[in-house]
């Protein structure tokens, strides 16, 4: 077997294996026959474990090949592109949805990170979720997330990346709402879903624009001259700006950046390990990955580069200030995570890609562990207090020391309210949209009532008559 075909098989295995467990589990769940805890977890653990193993082997193979990018083609799915592409299919060039995977420095790193963190978190979850009513659902979504994340990082085009992006989004949203009988999780899940839905449009539009400007959304067609991060693109700066800003919009949603990032601190409603994996480890870095992948395009446009940096800076500032005011462990960690992700965007704007890549790995591991250990906060604090023989006090932040008190008081109040980002968006974006959709709904109801007439009422005695008729 040639190294290339071996890589073909291995990369395929990394992506496909998680679904090998997910699909039968979905079917079983669908017909209401949930398998036992042991069967559920071992099927997901086995397939995800094998996927991780394949990822490891693929990395070795890639290193042996000298680290050159490997493009793996798995055929085309014509006319089966993600929805939304239908309206561009009328163009002269037929749309091609290619299932291509790309193995290069960026994707190998992210693939290994995904493989490692999902494996450890899965092992953690088996014991943590023991006897939980939603055990089956959790592992199903976990497998879906793992597969989606690997598709996302190994995808060779923005089209396929979008598929992974959506799978990650769905799994993420459903796990926030894991305890769906309570209000908080349901609300958090809806918030996340709304943000995803709206911002995912950015990725879609970015991919379409890329098709339009470059003729393809595939990374190796759209980029030229060398492997990531040295690739370049021949797009015009203005086209590059359009594409980059669309992609940035998508990243703003997924990575919880300014100004749409307030969903993430409210998303810590699911089981601790899923919060750790998604919002400490992987999903939150997906936006960073997307921008790194699109780096050659962003580089073409100074405007886009500046906006990426500015969004990063605003994110870092907003979330670090908001996070400093919070006193519950998971929210504090959520803001701390977002702040560092903001810094990563500045890194991208500065073109420090390798630094950012290393930083992503370290940060993902750190936050995952910190969130997994979130319940230890009390015993940690007690241990530190006992060993220092005193109640430790926090040093005031830099601005607290330099700014006048009245200003810091004001700043504090704003920070605790998340700088009113939610209220502003609700008032100036959500409100008008909701009003519009309510109007549309009224129109729709009026229309359907006019067509079908009021629905028939039934009572028990009517149904006596009904059974009557049927028995005659």
């Amino acid at each position: 077997m040639s190294p290339h075909s071996l890589a073909w098989w291995l990369a395929g295995a990394v992506v496909a294996l998680p679904f090998v467990a997910v699909l039968p589990l979905m079917l079983l769940g669908g017909i209401g026959r949930q398998p036992s805890e042991r069967a559920t977890s071992s099927s997901v653990l086995t397939t995800c474990g094998l996927s991780s193993l394949a990822a490891l082997l693929l990395t070795v193979l890639w290193f042996q090949g000298g680290g050159a990018p490997i493009v793996l083609r798995y055929g085309n799915i014509v006319d089966l592109g993600p929805r939304g592409h239908a309206f561009v299919s009328g163009e002269e060039e037929a749309h091609r949805f290619a299932v291509d995977l790309l193995v290069d420095r960026l994707s190998v790193t992210m693939m290994l990170l995904t493989a490692g963190l999902t494996w450890i978190t899965a092992r953690f979850s088996v014991r943590y979720l023991h006897r939980e009513a939603g055990f089956f659902r959790y592992f199903l979504l976990f497998g879906l997330f793992t597969g989606g994340m690997q598709v996302l990082v190994l995808a060779g085009s923005f089209d396929l990346l979008f598929v992974g992006w959506e799978l990650v989004g769905v799994a993420s949203m459903l796990l926030i709402g894991f305890f769906h009988l309570r209000n908080g999780p349901a609300r958090g899940a809806i918030r996340a879903m709304l943000t995803y839905r709206v911002t995912d449009v950015g990725l879609l539009v970015g991919a379409i624009l890329l098709h339009h400007f470059a003729g393809s959304s595939s990374f190796f067609d759209a980029f030229e001259h060398g492997a990531w991060p040295h690739a370049t693109t021949h797009l015009s700066p203005s086209a590059a700006a359009l594409v980059s800003l669309s992609l940035l919009f998508a990243a703003i949603g997924k990575s919880a950046l300014f100004p749409l990032g307030t969903w993430l601190p409210r998303a810590m409603e699911g089981p601790t390990p899923s919060s750790a994996l998604f919002y400490g480890g992987l999903a939150v870095h997906a936006g960073v990955y997307l921008l790194m992948r699109a780096a050659p395009i962003i580089e073409r446009s100074p405007l886009a580069t500046f906006v990426v940096g500015a969004v990063g800076a605003a994110t870092a500032l907003w979330s670090t200030l908001a996070g400093r005011t919070r006193s519950d462990v998971k929210t504090s960690l959520a803001y701390a995570t977002i702040a560092q992700v903001g810094l990563m965007l500045i890194g991208i704007a500065l073109r420090w890609y390798n630094v950012v890549l290393v930083y992503v790995i370290a940060h993902a591991c750190l936050r995952t562990l910190q969130l997994l250990r979130a319940p230890s906060a009390l015993s940690d604090a007690e241990a530190i207090r006992a060993a220092l023989q005193s109640e430790p006090h926090h040093r005031d932040g830099f601005w607290q020391r330099v700014l006048p008190q009245r200003l810091t008081d004001r700043l504090y109040a704003l920070a605790l309210e998340d700088f009113l980002l939610d209220a502003l968006i609700e008032r100036y974006v959500l409100g008008p949209v909701m009003a519009l959709s309510r109007a549309a709904d009224r129109l729709d109801r009026w229309w359907s009532d006019a067509l079908s007439g009021p629905s028939a009422k039934s009572s028990v005695d009517d149904s006596v008559a009904d059974t009557e008729r049927s028995s005659q």
Binding site: G184, K330, A336, A362, L369, D380, E382, A423, S458, S463
Partner: protein, 1018 residues
């Protein structure tokens, strides 16, 4: 804002409401110290069943298991038919009932309890009729003979009657239809005729007014009513805001940027916070901000009364209304109340807390949100909201006859009564049958089930004790070799049994695990002192652990290195949370995190051992002593310490004597007398304290055991004891130690053991190692993740891993399944397998003629045992309201407690992971004392009388001489004859549980000894 002071009666009513609320809110303090207590402590002055019903009405919390759960227990044989009949008889005795035909009330009750008669809304009945063949098929669980009888009777009736008779069922059915159906499908004919008959006889049923609206302004809030009728929760955003505000307002040490200006109080801080961005934010919050801004400082009471007035709440309902309103965030409100009531729990400069201000905040925010919802419905006068909503729900009142028919229909099916029979009984008897059904409402039924459930438990335990008494398993032979006093904790029952199985000369005792030494304790590792005693006691003495003189250098080194490590940890945890330092730290710490994660998650036990090995190298351990003797150690007592350090000679003698007398160990001392406190080691677990010793206030009992041993070995104390006729020979040595209930490790403090006891000590260690391995093995049977077949060594490894596994939500099972307390001599229970479900308290009635010792024991054991038992009870029957829910989404808020996710209420009680296998039965206290002695004690100890008299614990008297049993029931002792059964006999405990997971009945363990072993024992 009227600005006027509330008038006299309103002010008084509000004062009363606030005072009432202080008692009704959860009493749990900051979670670092978890003290088990009766969740319904504030209702403890009422009989148990009344109290749980009252709590249910106020809070909607479940008082018992669900009926469905109980029926499953019935099917599994956990409840027997005779238990059910016993409980039903008790129900009948307390209910005045009329007469009904043709199904007698007693039969109705039995059918209802066994099968259940559902109630449903009209829409549901319609759905069932349309989609689930309600009118064509019998209910699935209708017994075969009832089906056959109904079908046969209906056939006879239809065939024998003329059309006019059958048309009595009009308009719900008619003769032609029935005849046709009978030919095709007799079941269909019978069932539909029966339903039609049910409808005919229930036409006269009248509806009762919508309960929610009747209670509006009484003990249901406007928010409740809006949620129930309109569907949306109007005050959800108020909750979110309050949670966020309180979690930072109450925080003292987590947030790196604390809320400014908290010294003016909660309301002032809230006003400042709410007034931010009034132009853009939620209008209700902005309106509330305006209200607060206008109110003068300190006007919390006026604000509350204003709100209640506007909502139309009358002063006599202030209490119940405010309680209901505040319970929407009961956990947070409870924490506010607790912090206000116990200022000593907080730092001296902590921000002021006030329940009154909290209520004002809640009331104004709720009113503004309710106002907006009401305006959306076109209501501007909030006191008229009930009337406006009443119009909306009126329509459902017309459904009453259908719903009644549906219930009667089910009852008739279960009883095998056909349509003709029902018609013959007529509307009057139908109504009286419905009255019987109504009277036997869900809570009553569940109470009956609960009593049956507890009855079966009582029968099994008492039969076991009675059988064990007939032939004591292991009569002591020869002089005792070891006497080991354990805590009375139910988790120690197994290890005691296993230890005794090893040798007939090994004796054990049970005593509250603080061993009678109440002290403020501080170890060398933590200067902060802990009250090591039951929470009802306040220590009067300080005991410190001090490094011995020769080891003071080691001690200083230890302190320095621990401080170094702590500073590093603090720097990392703060640094990674901040922006700039985070950049520098993340790459390095991230790599370490990856390593930690892999090792701690994949190899928890190995990595823990590695960590311990490194810690032991890095942090040396000095030899230490305890300052139990007053003035013996010139330890540097802090200036402000008011309590004396150490005990005087008299105090020491009194304490040692009291404990020895309590357990009946006043003579025949073994060479080694061991006192084992207990604690638990768990990781990643905010509820850690709940696993530790309840008798030590939620702390490790080791220091108390060590202090007791030090006192009992003191020559002065022994001299003093001799005057009181307790002669501890020189050939006897006391050793303190502690048992880790999670890992089953045993630590003994034997630094100062005299040389001559070394041989005995070696033997003791071997024996304890064997006992703890067997105990671990027995515990593993209840862990689903432990292999079903495993050796004792594997079992120990398994439990050790659980203690250090970050992902383990159940390091151990705590007090789950606790159900019994036996107070008496060990011969009652020695050799009896009690499945780790019993508190075992040593008490020798023969040494206690005037019941003084009994009084001391019961005054400690009944409240502590009941506290644990009832906390588990309530957290089990309603894990979501009384308990803390599942641990999975828990989030430590301000290190005060766990909150659900990031937006939920603070959760009190026990998490589901601690209670899921618990059987909610009230503690069955079997006391070896006459009914007279018990009544005498209860008369002198009001705290015991309250719990026993109101049946929060079940009390059984076992006569020390005649062995007659009396059960305390309905205010008096009633003679009880235990079931006469012969327990299964095993040679080792393991045989009685091998391969089984659920709760097990008592069994008898008679160790089989080879003659060689018996020889050796001699």
């Amino acid at each position: 804002m009227s600005g006027s002071h509330p008038s006299g009666d309103r002010a008084a009513a509000l004062e009363h409401a606030i005072e009432h609320l202080r008692h009704a809110l959860p009493a749990q303090g900051p979670i670092g110290t978890f003290v088990h207590h009766n969740t319904l402590h504030f209702l403890q002055h009422k009989p148990f069943h009344e109290a749980v019903r009252e709590a249910h009405e106020r809070t909607d919390a479940e008082p018992y298991f669900t009926e469905q759960r109980f029926r499953e227990e019935l099917a599994h044989g956990r409840i027997d038919g005779e238990d059910l009949e016993y409980a039903l008889e008790r129900y009948r005795a307390r209910t005045a009932r009329g007469w009904s035909e043709p199904i007698k009330p007693a039969a109705i009750e039995r059918l209802v309890i066994e099968f259940g008669v559902r109630s449903a809304k009209k829409s549901e009945v319609e759905f069932l009729a349309r989609e689930r063949s309600l009118l064509a098929r019998f209910r699935r669980d209708v017994p075969e003979d009832a089906r056959a009888r109904i079908i046969a009777e209906t056939r006879r009736w239809i065939l024998a009657s003329d059309d006019a008779t059958l048309d009595a069922l009009a308009p719900h059915s008619n003769a032609a239809v029935l005849r046709q159906r009978l030919a095709r499908d007799p079941e269909h004919a019978a069932v539909s005729a029966l339903f039609a008959a049910s409808r005919v006889v229930t036409r006269a049923v009248r509806s009762r007014p919508e309960p929610m609206l009747v209670r509006l302004g009484v003990d249901r809030t406007h928010r409740d009513v809006l949620r129930a009728t309109v569907g949306d929760d109007p005050c959800e955003r108020a909750d979110l805001w309050i949670v966020r505000f309180l979690s930072v307002y109450l925080d003292e040490r987590v947030a790196r940027w604390s809320m400014p200006h908290r010294d003016h109080g909660m309301l002032a801080a809230a006003t400042a916070q709410l007034s931010v961005g009034a132009a853009v934010r939620d209008p209700a919050l902005a309106a509330a901000a305006a209200v607060f801004a206008k109110a003068p400082r300190g006007a919390a009471r006026e604000l509350i009364v204003d709100v209640l007035d506007e909502l139309g709440v009358r002063p006599e309902h202030f209490s119940s209304y405010v309680e209901r309103m505040v319970l929407a965030l009961g956990g947070w409100a409870g924490m506010v109340s607790r912090l206000e009531g116990f200022p000593s729990d907080r730092a001296p400069d902590a921000p002021p807390v006030s329940l009154t201000e909290f209520i004002a905040l809640r009331a104004v925010l709720d009113r503004e949100h309710v106002r907006r919802s009401a305006e959306a419905l076109g209501v501007t006068d909030l006191s008229k909201l009930g009337a406006a909503l009443g119009a909306r729900v009126q329509r459902s009142a017309l459904d009453a006859p259908l719903v009644a028919a549906y219930r009667l229909f089910q009852l008739a099916q279960l009883a095998g009564l056909d349509a003709a029979g029902l018609l013959e009984a007529g509307p009057d008897h139908a109504l009286s049958m419905l009255r019987v059904l109504d009277a036997f409402e869900p809570i009553e039924r569940r109470r009956v089930f609960q009593e049956a459930y507890e009855r079966k438990h009582l029968r099994m335990v008492l039969a076991g004790v009675a059988d064990n008494l007939r032939a004591p398993a292991d009569p002591a032979e020869g002089d005792p070799r070891f006497q080991v006093a354990f805590c009375i904790d139910d988790r120690e029952e197994a290890i005691r049994r296993h230890f005794e199985e090893l040798d007939p000369r090994y004796l054990t005792y049970g005593v509250a695990g603080f061993f009678g030494i109440a002290m403020d304790w501080s170890s060398i590792d933590d200067p902060q002192s802990l009250a090591q005693c039951p929470v009802v006691v306040t220590p009067q003495h300080v005991v410190r652990e001090v490094a011995t003189e020769s080891h003071s250098r080691v001690f200083r080194q230890r302190q320095a290195r621990r401080a170094l490590a702590a500073r590093a940890r603090k720097a990392v945890s703060e640094g990674t949370g901040s922006l700039v330092r985070g950049v520098a730290l993340t790459p390095v710490i991230g790599v370490m995190a990856a390593w930690t994660m892999v090792s701690r998650v994949l190899f928890p036990r190995l990595s823990e051992r590695l960590g311990r090995w490194i810690r032991e190298r890095f942090v040396p351990t000095p030899k230490t002593t305890l300052s139990t003797t007053r003035g013996a150690l010139p330890a540097p007592a802090p200036e402000h310490e008011l309590k004396p350090q150490g005990f005087t000679a008299d105090e020491r003698v009194t304490r040692v004597r009291a404990t020895l007398e309590a357990i009946g160990l006043t003579h025949g001392f073994a060479p080694l007398v061991v006192l084992l406190g207990h604690g638990a080691s768990t990781v990643n677990n905010p509820h850690h304290s709940a696993y530790e010793c309840g008798a030590c206030g939620g702390h490790n009992g080791g220091p108390n055991a060590r202090a007791f041993a030090a006192m009992a070995n003191d020559p002065d104390v022994r001299e003093g004891l001799r005057e009181g006729a307790i002669d501890i020979p020189d050939a006897c040595w006391f050793v303190g130690g502690w048992h880790d209930t999670t890992t089953d490790a045993i630590t003994l403090y034997d630094d100062d053991l005299p040389e001559k006891f070394q041989g005995a000590m070696d033997e003791l260690r071997v024996a304890l190692d064997s006992a703890r391995a067997r105990s671990a093995h027995e515990r593993c049977r209840k862990f689903e993740h432990a292999p079903t077949r495993l050796t004792e060594a594997e079992a120990l490894a398994h439990v050790e891993e659980r203690a250090v596994d970050l992902s383990q939500a159940r390091p151990e099972l705590g007090h789950a399944t606790n159900a019994v307390a036996v107070v008496g001599r060990r011969e009652l229970t020695r050799g009896l397998f009690l499945d780790r479900r019993s508190f075992l308290v040593s008490y020798d009635p023969t040494l206690d003629q005037d019941s003084e010792v009994l009084e001391r024991i019961l005054a400690a054991v009944v409240p502590v045992g009941a506290g644990i038992n009832l906390e588990y009870y309530f957290s089990t029957v309603d894990p979501d309201r009384w308990g803390a829910g599942t641990k999975l989404p828990h989030n430590l808020a301000a290190l005060l407690g766990v909150q659900e996710g990031v937006s939920g209420d603070l959760r009190t009680g026990l998490p589901r992971q601690m209670t899921e296998i618990h059987e909610p039965v009230r503690l069955l206290c079997v006391v070896e004392a006459t009914p007279e002695a018990l009544l005498h004690v209860a008369g002198r100890k009001p705290e015991v009388l309250e719990l026993v008299g109101n049946e929060w614990v079940r009390l059984v008297s076992l006569d020390p001489e005649t062995r007659a049993m009396h059960v305390f029931e309905d205010g008096a002792f009633v003679r009880y004859e235990p079931d006469s059964i012969a327990l299964p006999v095993h040679h080792r405990s393991e045989e009685s549980y091998a391969g089984r997971m659920g709760s097990l009945p008592p069994a008898k363990i008679t160790p089989q000894r080879s003659s060689a072993a018996t020889e050796a024992a001699r």
